[in-house]
């Protein structure tokens, strides 16, 4: 069973605030990802990491930043939130294999920026 946790599950904040979405996994997976999902729309990759101190931007441009200081932890930060950042953010991880379509997802963090 997958063990990947996201906090907070729901967050409502005002414009201009700094927020950090936490993601932790206990499976020892090297690869971790952040996806963004809007209602009725596709998942879009915004950040990924192949391991400690490795982070890359995904397909969808995002003003958020990520860090990977420990294998199990992959937080996402928005320095100054705006209403356009309102979305569902999903964290995922996978084993280090050639085919990385088998992802384990967290339950998501739903962000609302007023």
């Amino acid at each position: 069973e997958a063990d990947i946790y996201q906090t907070p599950r729901y967050l409502v904040i005002g414009t201009g605030k700094k927020i950090t979405l936490e993601c932790s996994q206990t499976m020892g997976h090297d690869k971790m990802y952040w996806y963004q999902q809007d209602p009725g729309m596709e998942l879009h990759l915004i950040h990924y990491s192949y391991g400690v101190n490795s982070t890359e931007k995904g397909d969808l441009s995002s003003e958020s930043t990520v860090s990977r200081i420990r294998t199990e932890h992959f937080p996402l930060t928005l320095e100054s939130a705006r209403p356009s950042h309102t979305s569902q953010y999903l964290c995922a991880s996978s084993e280090w294999t050639g085919l990385t379509g088998e992802l384990f997802f967290g339950e998501g963090s739903r962000l609302t920026v007023l």
Binding site: Q6, K31, Y33, G40, M41, E42, L43, H44, L45, Y48, Y50, E56, G58, D59, L90, C91, A92, G98, L99, T100, G101, E102, L103, F104, F105, G106, E107, G108, R110
Partner: protein, 112 residues
């Protein structure tokens, strides 16, 4: 550019009424096609991986099949607990390991 189109967008079935969901894809060199299930307010849950045309995978009431242009998720005698959004994703052979292209999903509702 890789593309994934799922149809229908929404499907409502009666309990026990079998049907199929479609995932059409355009990709340069398919490495794998993946099906996920997503419950409301939750993250997607991995169901199947299909690698080549003709391959089939089964899990309880679900069976996934793959051709060179599309994949079907067949649901046999569905139950209300099968209600969810089903997502299809592809990974292209020419792309780096991280990239999956997802479809928008099919929202399945099974009424008792």
């Amino acid at each position: 550019e890789d593309q994934v189109t799922q149809s229908p967008e929404a499907l409502r079935l009666q309990e026990g009424e079998s049907s199929s969901l479609n995932c059409s894809y355009t990709v340069s060199g398919l490495r794998g096609l993946f099906w996920y299930r997503q419950d409301p307010g939750k993250g997607p849950e991995f169901l199947f991986t299909l690698y080549s045309a003709g391959e089939e995978k089964e899990k309880e009431r679900l069976k996934a099949t793959l051709t060179k242009k599309e994949s079907f998720l067949h649901i046999t005698a569905p139950k209300p607990e099968d209600s969810a959004t089903y997502l299809c994703a592809v990974q292209a052979g020419r792309s780096s390991n991280y990239k999956l292209t997802f479809g928008k999903g099919t929202l399945l509702t099974v009424n008792p």
